[in-house]
């Protein structure tokens, strides 16, 4: 655990911070515009998406340079703009955005990798009729992801987080005609929702305790001194302070998004989406958002730790990460779908990042996040290129020998694969993974995570070599059609990503830990003494050895002697008892099927029965009663009220007709009646005055 030097935030927002909101807004606006386009306007849609993300990239680079120039000895740039969204009573809900080293690195990474994947998609999705819809969703995703990164408010972050989840759902189910894709989209949405419920609880708790959701706000934000001390002083039970408990609730959201145990089940299924989506969302950025979130709220988790000590919350993060790293790597060994192997690899690497955060602090985890984003995007795009070249075939047993058919893809894929394995010295993955392993071997609480992560590294080398052997070596085992190399628009992003998969290692070597210094606000200096740290040399040697063992063993098993697609795997032949459970993904889906899902199904049946029999019965009884009452009312109305009224009217009108005959308009008639009446009157008078 490294102590970060005290930040001396600069409050005065600079010009670039003032317009930082443009970075997420540009792709979002583009998304809205693309949504209005008709299907055939492909070029315009792609142009809008790529153009808007280019704007974001340029602004991100400007912001990054601004942070770089503002970075002096023990003072880092942390500028933010806050505003009140709405207020109720005396309390207000504030939103805002922040520019600090963490955000600066992330916006550059997201917009850069995103831009490359957008360009790649132009080639990959060229034959899809829903090209415009694809770019609409992708742009929305990019905007929301950039929003997550620059939010200075947990609420704004949560909103963008949910938009990101929505676009993930939309893009996994992009080919919704396929039932598997629709089911995978639903699964991803529901599974991440489980984590998000806890995340929301954490947000509510944090707000109730600190009265603000802003991260940084001139010393009164929720991640700053006062609030943290306040949170630390409250006990939440189980040996946790309120800060740690809130941190863990937020971590639960990250578990859902980043596919950590036990909520990892959605990520392999998410590979039903188009490959660029897998590369951008389910490898490089969105799944890393969980790691970023933990890094963002790191003060909550870290507060209360002794120097070089740890907290209960961070211990949980470490163990979850380490178990995920090994667990997913194990499953990846026995998968046959090229994208599923990479998906499990992603889960495993996300576990490394989480463990890195828990063990070594923000910089260690974030460095692996950044390097992983590049080489995993590279691997996914390479896999997409392979799938494209093999006519939508995803089973690695039906590939083979692509080394000569797709040389450029092979070269870049090999670079990505070696970076992922952590091939010594040259590749970025080596340095970022060794950072984590180094932190793990110095962890005081237990050496368990260290051994788990080392084992995970061995497995990583093994399964990646297996995959490369299957895909690129041996002979072509597919159908009659042979593979072809992908167009330039797809291979160019591969080449650029491959360059970064190697080059990025330079900024995080022990000799020149620039990245760590940048994030933790120290001075970066070059010195070979970085390697002289106790245990580091041995560790580098050991981890190199592990990688070689994994590579060699896998090569010995699979290299150049691949069987027919129908024949069993080499490992399956030698150890079927190990192979079967790994192939079946260690039965996690089945376990959920018989526990959680079975319970829900039962509960749904109970609810259905209650609905139909009990509530439905009551409702229909009431309906019947009302029907009866209405019939009664109808009779009353028709026979009594209406009938009586009609009769009265009839009588009146016939009486009127009779009387109207008298009023004929003839004066003489009137007079005649008058005379008759007088005669009658006189007669009556005479009659009555008779004695």
């Amino acid at each position: 655990m490294q102590e970060s030097a005290a930040f001396t935030p600069q409050f005065a927002a600079s010009a670039i911070t003032g317009i930082l909101w443009l970075i997420p807004t540009a792709p979002m606006v583009a998304s809205g515009l693309i949504a209005l386009l008709k299907q055939p306007r492909r070029n315009l849609a792609a142009g809008l998406a790529i153009g808007s993300l280019s704007i974001s990239l340029v602004l991100s680079l400007v912001a990054f340079c601004h942070v770089l120039t503002g970075w002096t000895h023990d003072s880092a740039v942390r500028e933010f703009v806050n505003f009140t969204w709405f207020r109720f009573g005396t309390s207000a809900v504030d939103l805002g955005w922040v520019l600090d080293p963490l955000a600066a690195i992330m916006i550059v990474m997201v917009s850069f990798v995103g831009l490359l994947i957008f360009i790649y998609s132009v080639g990959y999705m060229a034959h899809d009729e829903n090209f415009t819809r694809f770019f609409c969703f992708m742009s929305l995703f990019a905007g929301a992801m950039l929003g997550v990164v620059i939010s200075n408010s947990l609420l704004l972050l949560f909103m963008c987080w949910e938009i990101v989840g929505l676009t993930s759902y939309l893009l996994i189910g992009f080919w919704y005609q396929k039932p598997a894709a629709a089911a995978a989209a639903k699964k991803a949405f529901v599974t991440t929702r489980v984590g998000d419920v806890f995340f929301l609880l954490g947000i509510v708790w944090l707000y109730s305790q600190t009265g603000t959701l802003l991260f940084y706000n001139h010393g009164v934000g929720s991640l700053e001194g006062l609030a943290l001390v306040n949170l630390l002083s409250q006990h939440a039970g189980l040996g946790l302070s309120a800060a740690g408990a809130i941190g863990l609730l937020i971590f639960a959201g990250a578990v859902g998004k980043s596919g950590q145990l036990p909520l990892h089940v959605w990520l392999p299924d998410a590979m039903e989406g188009p490959t660029p989506v897998s590369a951008l969302i389910h490898a490089a950025t969105m799944v890393a958002a969980g790691v970023f979130l933990v890094a963002r709220v790191y003060p909550l988790m870290q507060i209360g730790a002794a120097p070089h000590g740890t907290t209960a919350a961070l211990t949980v993060v470490t163990w979850v990460g380490a178990s995920t790293a090994v667990f997913a790597a194990l499953i990846a060994v026995a998968q046959n779908d090229i994208k599923r192997i990479l998906a499990y690899s992603t889960i495993s690497q996300l576990g490394y990042m989480m463990a890195g955060l828990g063990l070594g602090g923000v910089a260690v985890g974030m460095f692996h996040l950044i390097t992983h984003a590049f080489f995993k995007a590279l691997l996914f795009l390479g896999a997409g290129s392979v799938i494209h070249g093999c006519h939508e075939e995803q089973d690695i047993r039906r590939m083979g020998g692509l080394r000569s058919d797709m040389p450029l893809t092979f070269l870049t894929y090999a670079i990505g694969m070696l970076a992922l394995c952590g091939f010594p010295l040259v590749f970025s993955g080596f340095w970022s993974k060794d950072g984590i392993l180094d932190a793990a071997q110095h962890w005081d609480i237990s050496k368990g995570p260290f051994y788990m992560l080392v084992f995970g590294a061995l497995l990583t080398a093994f399964y990646m070599t297996r995959q490369v052997c299957y895909v690129f070596f041996g002979y072509w085992r597919g159908g009659r059609e042979t593979a072809h190399e992908s167009p330039k628009v797809m291979t160019l992003p591969l080449a650029i990503l491959a360059f970064f998969a190697i080059a990025l290692g330079i900024i995080g070597t022990p000799a020149w830990p620039w990245f760590h210094a940048f994030l933790e606000n120290r001075t970066a200096s070059f010195s070979w003494h970085g390697f002289a740290e106790p245990g580091l040399g041995l560790l580098m040697l050991g981890s190199s050895l592990i990688v070689f063992v994994g590579l060699g063993f896998s090569w010995w098993l699979y290299g150049n002697k691949l069987p027919k697609p129908e024949a069993p795997d080499a490992l399956e032949k030698s150890a079927p008892w190990l192979w079967a459970p790994l192939r079946d993904r260690l039965y996690v889906d089945e376990l959920y099927g018989v526990t959680v899902i079975a319970f829900y199904a039962w509960w749904a049946r109970v609810a259905d029965w209650l609905d139909r029999r009990i509530w439905g019965g009551i409702v229909s009884a009431i309906t019947w009663l009302f029907g009866l009452w209405a019939q009664l009312n109808r009779l009353l109305d028709i026979d009594w009220v209406d009938g009586g009224f009609d009769k009265t009217c009839e009588e009146l009108s016939s009486g009127g007709g009779l009387l109207s005959r008298v009023e004929g308009g003839r004066v003489q008639n009137y007079l005649r009646i008058l005379a008759a009446a007088v005669v009658a009157l006189v007669a009556i008078l005479l009659w009555s005055s008779r004695p």
């Binding site: 308009g665 003839r666 004066v667 003489q668 007079l671 005649r672 005379a675």
Partner: protein, 104 residues
Amino acid sequence: MTTPLAGYLLVAALLFAIGIAGALVRRNAILVLIGIELMLNAANLNLIAFWRYGPHPELLTGMMFAIFSIAVAAAEAAVGLGLVISIHRHTNTTDLDKMNRMKG
């Protein structure tokens, strides 16, 4: 002065009956007017008769009533005949049954 009051009243009633019969059965507006005049004069005759046989025959009250009534009747007859002549000019008839429209 031996004739009793009833004699006068009978004459007046007869006159009234003739007047009303004329007013009712005649179609000619002028004859109807004459009938009305007859009824008026029957009333005048009654006024005189009741005055003469009343408690104060010396006060000339009945005479005054009758004279006023005759004056009013003369005016009325003049107006009525004027109307009849006006209608006759307009419609060329004095038949009451044909005068069933207010519109000219």
